[in-house]
């Protein structure tokens, strides 16, 4: 049985140590902090919280080394990153129009008898766009894997072997937040989905997003742009059925019933879980334990406490 605890942000009120002691009282830990990029090794505080021997898996540093030593793979890897950026840019353009289709209907003061149907159709078009985008990325990732077979490259294979051993030896793996795309790319490069399967995992913020099924980037009030939530891509899929929304209080307009309803309807049947300081959800075999209290956003646009 695999156990996963997904936590809210740990910077201000860290409780990752308590959760680790509860889930795995004994044994050493392994940590993934690749989301911190060049600051990956700034782990003193994290180690203090965990209060036991913890190896850092150094995924960011390992990736840099691979890219330095394997230039043909590095070229292909960068080309794939450029491709992903391009796809995201086109998706965003189409997304603006699709979301405007939904919100224009919602802004309409006079709603005739066919309004509901029109709104459902507009929402379906939006969901289809999301699905198409996610599918394009999955297909592209599969092509990349098949063509370049990263795990068969000497440097990557060496790291993969070392990582397997470190993860096998650890009682749990802690995955910190940070830059979600960087974190996900590094985890995917070294085949972490397979290595983490069955392990006890404690992940927060971007770390939790990266191991979930679908990663959605969001901010209702960014300094620039419309703040339209967008799919980044599928995560590693170790935590299923949930859409994780770290820093929800800061990044989402939780008072706007309309916005919340749009978000939850758009991504249903995923359960939209706001993850603020102190929040925690637990999963067994990748599925949320619904009998533990946690907050959820509803399709009616409310924030409710579930699992009480």
């Amino acid at each position: 049985m695999s156990r996963i605890a997904l936590l809210g942000p740990q910077r201000l009120q860290p409780f990752v140590g308590e959760v680790a002691r509860e889930l795995e009282p004994h044994g050493s830990g392994a940590a993934i902090t690749a989301g911190w990029q060049e600051h990956e090794d700034a782990v003193v505080e994290l180690h203090e919280h965990l209060d036991r021997h913890t190896y850092n898996l150094d995924l960011y540093k390992r990736t840099e080394e691979v890219l330095r030593h394997d230039s043909s793979f590095a070229d292909a890897y960068r080309e794939r990153q450029n491709e992903l950026r391009e796809l995201q840019a086109y998706y965003r353009l189409r997304l603006d129009a699709a979301i405007e289709g939904v919100t224009a209907l919602e802004r309409r003061a006079e709603r005739g008898p066919r309004w509901e149907e029109a709104h459902t159709d507009a929402m379906r078009a939006l969901r289809t766009l999301d699905l198409e985008h996610a599918t394009r990325i999955v297909e592209g990732n599969a092509r990349f894997e098949e063509h370049h077979r990263p795990l068969e490259h000497g440097h990557i294979r060496k790291h993969h072997r070392q990582l397997r051993k470190m993860i096998d030896d650890a009682a749990f793996v802690a995955i910190a937040g940070g830059h979600v795309a960087v974190l996900l790319n590094r985890m995917r490069l070294f085949g972490l989905a397979e290595l983490l399967a069955g392990k006890t995992i404690i992940a927060w913020s971007a770390g939790a997003m990266a191991i979930s099924e679908t990663i959605v980037l969001f901010h209702d009030n960014p300094p620039q742009g419309a703040g339209n939530a967008e799919i980044l891509e599928n995560g590693l899929g170790l935590a299923r059925g949930v859409l994780l929304l770290p820093h929800a209080k800061r990044r989402l307009d939780l008072a706007s019933q309309e916005r919340i309803a749009r978000l939850t309807t758009r991504f249903s049947p995923l359960r939209c879980i706001p993850m603020d300081e102190g929040d925690r959800i637990d999963l067994e075999n990748g599925v949320i334990l619904t009998n533990r209290p946690h907050r959820e956003l509803t399709t009616a646009g409310a924030v409710e406490t579930a699992g009480v």
């Binding site: 937040g177 830059h179 901010h219 960014p222």
Partner: protein, 387 residues
């Protein structure tokens, strides 16, 4: 005399005294003690002065309103007042002029603690109903602080040393590549617009990219910034390459930007125009884009080269950057010139963002617009980072 009750607003109390005559000095002292001034209400503001004078004038710098307006005396008292209609969310810098025997003496409003510093001293600041002092302009103890390094560059173009204060972001690393922003009137932006605090905060909030910022300090501002080719050459051919050889900078057009206010905006503009392949981003605040459609310009000799330069651009607008952010206060005389410049810039297919505010030609107006401008030119990783 009707007594003052707890439910009366400051304005209502004042109005009662205007209508019925002033109460005794103790009641006025209590009124002053218990209220904040000016009295701000939706859509209007009432300035109050308490003291001896032959007359009191409001002196301000709002273009479009008479710059001198007399306060009225509450009958039989030393309490003076003036109510003005003022749109919500406005900022206005002002002073009082006290008149004694026909002589005027300018002072800051003694009842208003809000002050704005500028190179000429300080002004009182009125914040009308709805104005919010942006929290990202105040020191945030959680934001890691960048550092400032003082440098000097010998300029062959200008034939003198040019001081530069170089901002490096917190957790600066030589292994990274940073964008470069060159800022005109660097000392004023640092001192009066608190730009280091703003950068620390916006970088901490991930709203703008970590960047290196060169705050330049002009020696002969009005000449150097008036589209002077030697100054532009110094920025593009001397300062930029020297910084790029010493610091880990991106070193491409999209990784470089220029920023300035007033004449400093003009200097940024003229540099980018003379070196169109060098700078990808322009942040132009209340630019001195004076021009003439017919006749002579009326702004004085300092504007002669400016008008000539801007007229030339207006005759044939061309792109000079990828992104241009323009801001201007509605209460400044340059609003007409800035509004006129925007469609010309847009006609060149550059990505142009224009923001207006209910404010004047001052450093706090420019401070309050920095989040919009900097995040537009150099967006941070906010969208991708979940700590």
């Amino acid at each position: 005399m009707t007594p003052v009750t707890d439910t009366m607003t400051a304005r209502e109390t004042l109005q009662m005294w205007i209508d019925e005559g002033a109460p005794d000095a103790a009641a006025i002292d209590a009124f002053i003690e218990q209220n904040s001034f000016p009295i701000v209400e939706p859509g209007s503001v009432t300035y109050v002065f308490h003291g001896q004078a032959d007359g009191v004038n409001l002196r301000h710098f709002v273009f479009g309103l008479p710059s001198t307006q007399p306060l009225h005396r509450v009958p039989h008292s030393d309490l003076w007042y003036l109510t003005l209609d003022l749109p919500d969310c406005s900022r206005m810098e002002y002073k009082f002029e006290l008149l004694f025997h026909g002589q005027g003496k300018w002072i800051e409003d003694p009842l208003n603690p809000n002050r704005a510093l500028d190179p000429f001293g300080a002004n009182s600041v009125l914040q009308s109903y709805g104005y919010e002092h942006p929290d990202w302009t105040r020191h945030d103890p959680e934001a890691r602080e960048g550092t400032i390094e003082e440098l000097r560059f010998r300029s062959r173009s200008l034939h003198h040393d040019y001081p530069v204060s170089l901002y490096k972001p917190a957790r600066f690393r030589r292994t990274r590549r940073y964008p470069l922003l060159i800022v005109m009137d660097g000392g004023d932006y640092l001192h009066f617009s608190k730009m280091k605090t703003v950068l620390d905060n916006l970088i901490h909030r991930l709203e703008v990219s970590e960047m290196i910022v060169a705050f330049t300090h002009p020696r002969d501002r009005l000449n150097e910034y008036a589209a002077m080719p030697e100054h532009d050459r110094f920025l593009a051919e001397e300062l930029t390459p020297r910084l790029e050889s010493r610091y880990p900078l991106i070193g491409t057009r999209e990784g470089r930007g220029l920023m300035g206010a007033s004449f400093g905006a003009l200097a940024s503009f003229s540099t980018a125009l003379r070196y169109p392949d060098m700078f990808g981003g322009l942040l132009l605040q209340s630019g001195s884009f004076a021009f003439t459609d017919i006749g002579e310009q009326q702004r004085g000799p300092a504007f002669e080269p400016v008008v000539e330069f801007v007229n030339r651009y207006r005759a044939k607008p061309v792109p000079m950057a990828e992104k241009v952010f323009v801001s201007c206060g509605m209460y400044e005389s340059l609003i007409y010139e800035n509004r006129s410049m925007v469609p010309l810039l847009q006609s060149t297919d550059m990505d142009v963002r224009y923001v207006e505010s209910r404010d004047g030609h001052n450093w706090e107006n420019w401070r309050d617009r920095m989040r919009d401008g900097l995040s537009f030119l150099f967006p941070g990783p906010l969208w991708m980072v979940y700590e």
